[in-house]
C-alpha cells in the first residue's frame, strides 16, 4: 500500500485551499513574498536585458554576446567551475572516506568536522586574503621563505586553489552522508564472497557513491560559478570571469544593461546545474537509509597502513587550513603585513570605533534576516512538503530560484527592481534583509523538508484522527518535531548574512553598510590589517552563534525527537 498512499501528494487542488483557511492565508502571503522578491526582480533583469526603450530588442544582448571578452569570461567561468568541481569533490571524497571508513575515534572525527567547518563560516574571501598573505609579492611563503621576488599570484591557479579549499567542505558533507548511509554489511557481504579491499572499494563502495559524487560536483560547480569575492581578489586582469565582469560593468562603467546581460549569461549554466542536480542526480541516490541500526559490524574496507596514510594526508590539509586562519589572526595583530611586523591592536581599535556603525548594521541585518528567514524556511518547507494545494509544485521551484542563482544576479536584479517606483527599497536595510531571506531562507526550507521526510505521515494523521485541527496539529506535533530544522535554518541565514557579499555588494548604501563590503573596501585601499581584523571578528561571531545553536539543538533533543546531523546538511 505504501506506493499507493505515497501518491496522495498528486492531488493538488484548489478545493484544499478553500477548505483550510489557515493554509489559504499562508499560501497567499508566501506567494506575495515570492512574487515581489523572487519573480519581480528576475522579470526586471530579463526585461532590461531584452528590451530597449520599452520594445523587445536583442541588439544589446547580441552586441555583448559577440564580444570576445564575453566569450573568454564565460569560458573561464565554466572551466574554473569544472576544475573546482573535480578537485573539491576529490578532496571531499578523500576526507569523507577517511571520516566514515577509517574507524576514527570520536575526538578525531570531531576535530575533522570542526576544521572543515572553518571555510564554511568565514567571509568568502578569507581564503583569498590569506593566499595573498602567503603567496603574494610580499607573501610569507613566496617572499620570506622562498625568497621569490615579484611572484605572480593572480590568475587561474590561485583562484582554483582558494575556491577548492573554500568549497570542498560542501563535498565532504554531501559524501559523508552518502558513504555513511551505505550499510557496512553490504561490504561485509562482498568480503565474504572473496573480494579484496580494493575490489570492494572499486566494485561496491565507489559505484554506490557515484550519485553522491555527481551531486557534489554539481554543487561545487555552482558554488564556483557564483563565487564573486575570490576572483575579484585573486583572478586578476588576465583571468576574467562572468560575475566579476558583471560587477565591474555596473560599478566601474555604470552600465546597468551590460551588467544585466552578463548576469543573464551566467543565469543559464546556473539554472541548468540547479535542475540537473534536482531532477537527475537527486533521484538517483542508490543508498537507502532504513533507520535500522541492527548491524553493529565494523568497517573493514581500510587496512591499517592505508588508514594511517589517509589520516596523515587529512591532518596535513587540516593543518594547512588552520595555518591560513592563524595567518589571518597574525595579520590582524601587526602593523603592516610584509613591511612592519610589530604587534599592535590598532586594527581592532579601528573596527570597533570607525567600523562600529558597520558592525551594528551587519548585526541588525543578520539578526532580523535570521528571524524572518528561519520562519520563512519552516513555513514554506512545511506547506510544500506536507500540504496539498493548487500551485504547490510551482511554489517549491520558485522558492528555490534565488537560492540557485549566483548572488551577483540576485543583487543586480534587486538593484534594478527596487530603485524605482512602485517599490523603492534602495538604501534601506530591508532590501538586504529580503534578499538574504529569499536567498538563504531556502536552506531552512531544505532542512525542514529533510526532517519532515523522516516524520512518518501517520503521526500527523494520528493527531487529526484524535480530533485536532490542522493548526493545532502543526502547533503541538509538527513544530516541536521540526524545531531542529528551524534552528538550523536560523543559523544558516545568520551565517550567510554575516559572510556573503556577492548580492549584498550591490545593495549596501551610505546608511546601511556591511562588514564583508568593508573588508573588500579596505583590501582595495590596502588596509590589510583592518580587513584581517574584520574577518577575524566575523569568524568569531559566527563561531559563537553556531556553538550557541548547536547547544540549543542539543538541549532541544527531547526524547525521541529527530536529529539534524549538521548545520550545513546538504
Amino acid at each position: 500500500m505504501s506506493v499507493l498512499t505515497f501518491k496522495r501528494k498528486n492531488t493538488d487542488t484548489l478545493g484544499n485551499l478553500v477548505k483550510d483557511p489557515a493554509l489559504l492565508t499562508s499560501v497567499i502571503v508566501i506567494w506575495m513574498f515570492l512574487a515581489l522578491f523572487v519573480l519581480f526582480p528576475i522579470f526586471k533583469i530579463l526585461s532590461i536585458a531584452f528590451t530597449e526603450g520599452g520594445h523587445f530588442e536583442l541588439s544589446g544582448l547580441l552586441k555583448i554576446l559577440g564580444k570576445k571578452y564575453t566569450h573568454i569570461a564565460a569560458w573561464n567561468s565554466i572551466l574554473l567551475g569544472t576544475l573546482v568541481g573535480i578537485c573539491g569533490t576529490a578532496l571531499g571524497f578523500f576526507f569523507a572516506f577517511t571520516a566514515v571508513r577509517a574507524n576514527l575515534s570520536k575526538s578525531w572525527s570531531r576535530l575533522l568536522d570542526w576544521a572543515i567547518i572553518l571555510p564554511l563560516i568565514s567571509p568568502p574571501f578569507t581564503m583569498a586574503i590569506t593566499v595573498i598573505f602567503s603567496f603574494g609579492p610580499r607573501g610569507l611563503i613566496t617572499y620570506n621563505l622562498l625568497g621569490l621576488e615579484h611572484f605572480e599570484v593572480y590568475g587561474m591557479w590561485s583562484t582554483l586553489f582558494a575556491e577548492t579549499i573554500t568549497y570542498f567542505p560542501i563535498s565532504y558533507i554531501t559524501l559523508k552522508g552518502i558513504l555513511g548511509g551505505i550499510d557496512p554489511t553490504v561490504e561485509d557481504m562482498a568480503f565474504s564472497l572473496g573480494s579484496s579491499r580494493w575490489d570492494v572499494f572499486r566494485k561496491v563502495t565507489f559505484p554506490l557513491s557515484t550519485s553522491g559524487l555527481a551531486n557534489s560536483f554539481l554543487l561545487l560547480f555552482a558554488a564556483s560559478l557564483a563565487d564573486f569575492a575570490t576572483p575579484l581578489i585573486l583572478a586578476g586582469n588576465g583571468f576574467p570571469l562572468l560575475p566579476t565582469e558583471a560587477f565591474l560593468q555596473i560599478t566601474g562603467l555604470f552600465d546597468m544593461k551590460g551588467g544585466a546581460i552578463l548576469s543573464f549569461i551566467l543565469l543559464i549554466p546556473s539554472l541548468a546545474v540547479f535542475f540537473l542536480q534536482r531532477y537527475w542526480v537527486g533521484r538517483r541516490n542508490l543508498v537507502t537509509i532504513t533507520g535500522k541500526s541492527g548491524s553493529q559490524t565494523k568497517f573493514k574496507s581500510v587496512g591499517n597502513k592505508t588508514r594511517y596514510l589517509f589520516l596523515f594526508i587529512c591532518l596535513l590539509t587540516v593543518l594547512f587550513i588552520l595555518y591560513f586562519y592563524i595567518l589571518l589572526l597574525y595579520a590582524s595583530m601587526i602593523e603592516a603585513f610584509g613591511a612592519n611586523n610589530t604587534f599592535t591592536l590598532t586594527h581592532y581599535k579601528a573596527i570597533f570605533t570607525r567600523g562600529r556603525e558597520v558592525i551594528k548594521d551587519t548585526l541588525i541585518i543578520s539578526i532580523s534576516g535570521m528571524l524572518l528567514g528561519g520562519l520563512y524556511g519552516v513555513v514554506v518547507g512545511y506547506i510544500t512538503a506536507k500540504k496539498k494545494f493548487f500551485s504547490r509544485k510551482f511554489m517549491e521551484i520558485v522558492a528555490m530560484i534565488n537560492y540557485a542563482l549566483p548572488g551577483t544576479i540576485v543583487g543586480i536584479a534587486y538593484l534594478i527592481a527596487f530603485n524605482k517606483r512602485p517599490i523603492i527599497l534602495t538604501g534601506t536595510a530591508l532590501i538586504i534583509i529580503f534578499c538574504n531571506v529569499s536567498k538563504y531562507g531556502a536552506n531552512g526550507i531544505r532542512s525542514t523538508v529533510a526532517i519532515l521526510q523522516q516524520i512518518h505521515p501517520g503521526i500527523e494523521e494520528a493527531s487529526v484522527s484524535l480530533g485536532a485541527s490542522s493548526i493545532y496539529t502543526f502547533r503541538r506535533i509538527t513544530v516541536p518535531l521540526i524545531l531542529p530544522g528551524l534552528f538550523s535554518g536560523l543559523g544558516i541565514v545568520f551565517i550567510r548574512s554575516m559572510t556573503a557579499i556577492s548580492a549584498a555588494i550591490f545593495l549596501v548604501s551610505l546608511n546601511w553598510n556591511l562588514i564583508t563590503v568593508s573588508i573588500l573596501e579596505n583590501m582595495t585601499e590596502l588596509h590589510l590589517g583592518v580587513s584581517a581584523a574584520f574577518s577575524v571578528f566575523v569568524v568569531i561571531t559566527v563561531f559563537i552563534v553556531i556553538t550557541g545553536i548547536s547547544f540549543v539543538l542539543k538541549s532541544l533533543r527531547q526524547p525521541g525527537a529527530l536529529r539534524i546531523t549538521s548545520l550545513f546538511g546538504a
Binding site: 501518491k7 503521526i459 484522527s465 525521541g560
Partner: protein, 361 residues
C-alpha cells in the same frame, strides 16, 4: 455510549501511478459494520483494504460514493470531525510526548477538564495494562507496549468508531496472539463498532465477528470465519483462508451441482460451483489438508505417493506427499495415537470425497 453502525456505499478510488498510470485501488466497495461489531478487511497487500479504511477515516477523499457513521453522512467531513479512534500500523505515537501526554492528546483537543483528563488517562492505561507507565516516552518502550499506548490513545476519547490498520504486524508471533486477544476483549467490553485491517488470515479468523475478503479493489466474499473456511465462493478465498490443495483432475461428467472428476484413474463425485464445466475439461479439485488421510500401502491401495517432507508441529504432523500426477499437503492430528510416516516412505493417499469441491477461479 450507544454503538452505531458504519456504512460505506459504493466507494471508489483511483490513483495515478508514475509508472503504471491510472490504478483503481477501490472499485465501488459497499459494506456495513453492525453496531458493536468487529468487521475485518482481509486481503493481500495492494487489495484496497487500507485505502477503504483511510476513506472511512477521512484521510483519503473517495472519487465517488458515500460514508455514513450512524445515520450521519460524513463523506464531506474532515478526519478530525468524524469522531474516530485510529490505531496505525506503526503506532504513530508522538515521539516528543510522554505516554500520559500521548493518551491525553485527544481529550485536550476536546477541551475536557484537567482532572477528568487525568482520571480517564489512568483508566485507559489500566484497561491496556500499562499502569505506572505515565511518564515514560515511546522510545523507552517495547513494541508491544507502544502498541498498547496507541490503543489506549484511540479508545480514551470514546470514539463512535474504532479503526485498526494492521495493528499487530510489527509484533512477534507470541505477542501478536496475546495482543489480539486483548484487543478483542476491549472492543467487546466497550462495544465499539470496529473495522480491522489485516493481511493475516489467522488473525482475521481469531478476532472478527465477520470477515470481508478483498482482492484487486473488489469485495470477494463476506462472512464469518466458519463460512469462509467451509464455504468459500472462489478459489481465491479458499486459498487465502487456511491452506488448501488444488488437485488436478479431468471432468468425466457434470450437472448443476455435482461433477465426477477423474484423479489418477479414480473417480470422485465432487460438489461443483463452477459454471460451464464440461466433460473432458481439466479442473482443480480443492481439498483441505486435514481432509486427507495417509495409510501404509497395501495391495488394495488406489492412489499412492511418496512422503517428501515431514514437519512435526506438536499438535499435528504436516506431510507433503508426491503422487504420480500431483503433490499434496496432508495434516494429521492427534500425533499421540497416529501411526507416523517417514520421509521417502511409500503411502496410500485417501481423499475425503464429501469435502472435495470445484470453485470459480
Amino acid at each position: 455510549m450507544k454503538s452505531v453502525n458504519i456504512k460505506l456505499e459504493n466507494l471508489t478510488k483511483t490513483y495515478i501511478h508514475q509508472l503504471k498510470g491510472k490504478i483503481s485501488a477501490v472499485n465501488g466497495v459497499s459494506l456495513e459494520v453492525e453496531p458493536g461489531e468487529l468487521l475485518t478487511l482481509l486481503g493481500p497487500s495492494g487489495c484496497g483494504k487500507t485505502t477503504t479504511m483511510r476513506m472511512l477515516a477521512g484521510f483519503e477523499e473517495p472519487d465517488s460514493g458515500k460514508v455514513f457513521i450512524g445515520s450521519e453522512d460524513v463523506t464531506d467531513q474532515m478526519a478530525n470531525q468524524r469522531d474516530i479512534g485510529f490505531v496505525f500500523q506503526n503506532y504513530a505515537l508522538f515521539p516528543h510526548l510522554s505516554v500520559a501526554e500521548n493518551v491525553a492528546y485527544g481529550l485536550k483537543v476536546r477541551g475536557v477538564d484537567r482532572n477528568e483528563i487525568g482520571r480517564r488517562v489512568d483508566e485507559a492505561l489500566q484497561l491496556v495494562k500499562l499502569e505506572g507507565y505515565q511518564e515514560q516516552f515511546p522510545h523507552q518502550m517495547s513494541g508491544g507496549e507502544q502498541q498498547r499506548v496507541a490503543l489506549a490513545r484511540a479508545i480514551v476519547i470514546k470514539p463512535k468508531v474504532l479503526l485498526l490498520d494492521e495493528p499487530l504486524s510489527n509484533l512477534d508471533a507470541k505477542l501478536r496472539i496475546s495482543t489480539r486477544g486483548e484487543i478483542r476483549r476491549l472492543q467487546k467490553a466497550l462495544s465499539i463498532s470496529t473495522l480491522y485491517v489485516t493481511h493475516d488470515q489467522e488473525e482475521a479468523m481469531a478476532i472478527s465477528d465477520r470477515i470481508i475478503v478483498m482482492n484487486h479493489g473488489d469485495i470477494i466474499q463476506i462472512g464469518t470465519a466458519e463460512e469462509l473456511y467451509y464455504n468459500p465462493k472462489t478459489e481465491f478465498v479458499a486459498k487465502f483462508i487456511g491452506a488448501i490443495n488444488a488437485i488436478p483432475s479431468k471432468i468425466v461428467s457434470s450437472s448443476d451441482e455435482e461433477a465426477v472428476a477423474d484423479i489418477e484413474g479414480e473417480k470422485f463425485k465432487v460438489r461443483n460451483f463452477r459454471k460451464n464445466v464440461k466433460p473432458g475439461d481439466s479442473a482443480d479439485v480443492l481439498l483441505r489438508p486435514e481432509a486427507v488421510r495417509l495409510k501404509e500401502v497395501n495391495p488394495e491401495s488406489k492412489i499412492k505417493g511418496t512422503v517428501v517432507e515431514r514437519a512435526f508441529l506438536g499438535d499435528r504432523v504436516d506431510y507433503t506427499v508426491a503422487a504420480e500426477s500431483f503433490t499434496i499437503k496432508v495434516s494429521l492430528y492427534d500425533s499421540f495415537g497416529q501411526v507416523t510416516f517417514k520421509c521417502d516412505q511409500e503411502v496410500e493417499i485417501i481423499l475425503d470425497e464429501k469435502r472435495m469441491k470445484i470453485l470459480e477461479r
